[in-house]
């Protein structure tokens, strides 16, 4: 996946006042040093334009070819209608969008996406919180647990999907056989809720480790002095976690919620395509999958471009939300 990024270091690290900032104002306008004339420029710098031009040229050239031109063309195509053979193109204004928003299939795909991303988000974050609390509490074996829990990060989303698809395969999968033994008529190939549960589990399995790393790092940065004074006041480990640590790491929680939405919306394509292929009957056809299908399978380019634009708007919104939430430190800073 093209890695998306937040601005800097770990958000919500208590005491890290100079970390993540609202990028469009402070982060860009204020560099590391103070009293700088120009933002993000070192106080000690070189005044020259030929060398930086050549240093920037490769990046800007690649971005022009594979980022700016495609993005602008996606915008243009959203207002055009092209026949599947690419012979004629005409401007149609907002027709593609009207058609899209009137289409029941699109709204059901949006609904599936909403359920999928919400379920994935809740499952991922709550399991990661539980694991982070546990590994923050214990003293022995932390490193060993962490090593194992991080493994899914190395594994491709498609493989995570294939693994779970096998375990839950009604004909050969060991877990599916156990479920059937319990009397559940498990079949993700026919039952749409079972299919959705399968992709949610695969998506979470792959992403819990990411949440876990950030939560552990955030929990470690909660000031020991506050925890100790709570201990002296008689608060137990669970109480300290719920009343002190959790409120103090809310910026990290918000950051992870946004990241999980981004992940669920855009990066789970491989899981869907490798396991259910949007089926049965569109039950797991999330928005990104539909863009792909309309663009490359049914060749409805105008509609696919309009869908791309909707997704771009969503991506932009999430990027802003990411910085917004991180900017408003939702904790009680010390």
């Amino acid at each position: 996946m093209p890695a998306r990024n937040n601005t800097a270091t770990l958000p919500g690290t208590a005491g890290g006042g100079s970390r993540l900032r609202w990028p469009f104002r402070r982060l860009l306008l204020k560099g590391a040093g103070d009293g700088q004339a120009e933002s993000g420029l070192k106080r000690a710098h070189f005044k020259e334009w030929r060398l930086p031009f050549w240093l920037l040229a490769p990046q800007l050239f690649i971005l022009l070819l594979f980022f700016f031109i495609p993005s602008i063309r996606a915008l243009i195509q959203a207002f055009q209608l092209t026949d599947p053979f690419g012979a004629t193109t005409q401007w149609v204004g907002f027709q593609n969008f009207e058609r899209l928003f009137r289409s029941g299939v699109y709204w059901s795909s949006a609904q599936v996406t909403l359920i999928f991303t919400l379920a994935q988000n809740v499952l991922t974050l709550s399991v990661a919180l539980l694991l982070a609390f546990a590994s923050n509490h214990i003293l022995r074996g932390r490193g060993a647990y962490r090593t194992v829990l991080l493994l899914p990060y190395a594994i491709a989303p498609a493989i995570a999907g294939i693994m779970l698809a096998f375990l839950f395969n009604p004909r050969v999968g060991p877990v599916a056989q156990m479920l059937q033994g319990l009397g559940l008529d498990w079949d993700p190939n026919r039952n749409s809720w079972h299919a959705l549960a399968l992709v949610v589990m695969a998506a979470s399995w792959k992403h819990i480790c990411y949440n876990y790393i950030f939560l552990v790092a955030a929990l470690m940065s909660v000031p020991q002095s506050i925890l100790e004074s709570a201990y002296l006041d008689g608060a137990g480990p669970v109480q300290r976690f719920l009343r002190i640590s959790l409120p103090m790491i809310t910026p990290t929680l918000f950051f992870l919620i946004v990241i999980n939405f981004v992940y669920g919306l855009f990066e789970t394509f491989a899981i869907i395509d490798a396991t259910t292929r949007g089926g049965p009957a569109g039950a797991t056809s999330i928005l990104v999958y539909k863009v792909y299908q309309d663009g490359f399978v049914t060749l409805d380019l105008g509609s696919s471009a309009a869908q791309s634009v909707v997704l771009m708007a969503l991506a932009l919104f999430l990027t802003f939300a990411q910085f917004r939430f991180v900017e408003r430190r939702v904790n009680y800073s010390v």
Binding site: A3, S135, A156, Q177, A315
Partner: protein
């Protein structure tokens, strides 16, 4: 704090053990299934212990599915993305933080904007751009009426550069290096200039050695990302021999009307996830640092 909480300690270990089991069991079953024969996987219930067919299955996968080539492709693509992105972005970050020149902020903003739109939301036009890199020249040519430009065609489908270049086109690494450069003391650059170092010497002799740990951490993350690519290779490879290993797995997925060869799929899946898993296990310390630093 000297606190004794035996019950909660036990519960915490239990939670972590269950978590570790949930991570390991699917991976274990991939290995077990990959080592069974066709007859053994059809049994109900399936064996929970590994069989003796792992090497035999591996040979089938490597020869009949051409998986050796696909693993090599994965390696080339992942290395290409890692090296390409690191090289391009470290010099770009150097340019925007250490030089004052006209349109510096414009350049920075252009790079920064690419953080906002993942490739998934613009797949069709990005594909068209890769299918003919000369497309902008074609359009320019038809506007200006220059026939020589209209006919240009440079197709990257089924090529390594087509699989690598569009994935380099994102500014995550540039941004990370910029953040890091801003924390480097100004005195270093001043001292270098007093000693008469050229910008390039400063970059090569001071900045690069200082960035070593960041480069290693980022390289691990980029390598994993490159190895696990799915959507882009799926679109850009029509020729089976140019696909990467993850895409190869999709083709091995048993279809409902054929013999369910799950053992071959799982064997191939195990081979595919082995290199990135080893990378994470061996370089864990670096990797965690990089992940937390870059937010990805």
């Amino acid at each position: 704090m000297n606190e004794r909480t035996p019950v909660i300690d036990a519960v915490c270990h239990l939670i972590l053990l269950v978590g570790a089991a949930l991570v390991c069991l699917p991976i274990y079953f991939v290995f077990v299934t990959g080592s069974l024969s066709q007859a053994e996987i059809m049994q109900v219930p399936m064996s929970w212990l590994p069989g003796d067919q792992f090497l035999a299955n591996m040979q089938t996968v490597l020869s009949s599915a051409n998986f050796g080539r696909l693993l090599l492709n994965s390696f080339i693509i992942a290395s290409g993305i890692t090296i390409g992105k690191l090289a391009v972005s470290v010099i770009a970050a150097f340019a925007v933080t250490y030089f004052r020149f006209p349109f510096r902020m414009t350049a920075f903003w252009l790079i920064f904007m690419s953080l906002m739109l993942p490739i998934e939301v613009r797949i069709v036009p990005t594909y068209e751009s890769a299918a003919n890199v000369a497309l902008p020249l074609n359009i320019l040519g038809s506007w200006l009426g220059i026939q020589a430009l209209v006919g240009l065609d440079w197709n990257l489908v089924n090529t390594y550069s087509g699989l690598i270049l569009p994935l380099i086109a994102s500014a995550t690494a540039t941004f990370l290096f910029r953040q890091f450069f801003l924390t480097i003391p100004d005195e270093l650059c001043e001292a270098a200039r007093i000693d008469g170092a050229t910008p390039w010497q400063f970059f090569r002799l001071i900045l690069l050695p200082l960035s070593r740990s960041n480069i290693v951490a980022l390289a691990i993350i980029l390598f994993l990302m490159g190895w696990n690519q799915y959507l882009w290779p799926l679109l850009l490879t029509t020729e089976p021999a140019m696909a990467n290993a993850v895409i190869g797995l999709k083709k091995l997925m048993p279809q409902s009307d054929s013999l369910p060869t799950w053992h071959l799929l799982m064997n191939a899946a195990f081979l595919t996830m082995l290199p990135p898993t080893l990378v994470i296990l061996v370089l864990q310390r670096w990797f965690v640092k990089g992940l937390v630093d870059s937010g990805k």
